[in-house]
Subunit: 109 residues, 2 copies
DNA sequence: CGAGGATATCTTCGCAACGAAGATATGTTC
DNA sequence: GAACATATCTTCGTTGCGAAGATATCCTCG
């Protein structure tokens, strides 16, 4: 699972959202570092739906424009949880290596 | 940057290593979750070398077999640090969402 | 001694996710 | 009426990875 997909699931963990809403939400979530393109977004949503991690929710018409909402499934929640677990282990390992390295080879001696 | 690449940089943060050593080291680092294949490993090393994040270190002959060591460059250390920073933000955001969701929709009511 | 497994390198090829780009359409703002 | 924000979706190229295998040496076990 790559970062855009991970962030889409994370965004949907709070509440069902529609595509365009996900673009802005993911941008916020990531501190502006990830700006989803439509190709990435809709490709990921289709894939996640195929995998049963998200589902089509309701559809709304707001100001004459359709909004298609997606929601996280239970399987999606489980998958996201597993990915978080995995990532936090990896991050901790890397942090430990980097601080050990800083001790061994201090930038400022 | 994807997980195999991230783990290769993390492994090299401790000390220079050769390819085969990286395979076992990354497996350990990841708790056995990531088993590098040669195609992944040498492809990543070539790419990282092109990007200046790792460098060829010394070469040793041990028991008649060549060992080509790679080391993390300063740029590589910086890149790894940035990636760790980025990931830890993302992970924290996801953890917050997941626990909020658990409060809203407890699995055990 | 021969087979198999561990150590060690590297290449080829296909796939999946992403990113760039753009098509389409409505509403709002200047 | 031009430009921008909202909202959908498609096409196509790139990239990193994974599967598979080629090559070679050393060690262990029967």
């Amino acid at each position: 699972m790559r970062e855009p997909t991970f962030l889409i699931l994370t965004a949907l963990a709070r509440a069902p959202m529609h595509g365009y809403g996900l673009i802005t939400e993911v941008a916020e979530l990531s501190g502006g570092r990830v700006e989803l393109r439509p190709g990435t977004l809709y490709g990921a949503l289709d894939r996640l739906a195929d995998d049963g991690l998200v589902e089509r929710d309701r559809e709304e018409i707001v100001d004459g424009r359709a909004r298609r909402y997606y929601r996280l499934t239970d399987r999606g929640e489980t998958a996201l949880g597993a990915e978080v677990e995995r990532l936090s282990h990896t991050v901790r390992a890397a942090q430990a290596r980097l601080s050990a390295r800083a001790t061994q080879r201090p930038a400022v001696a």
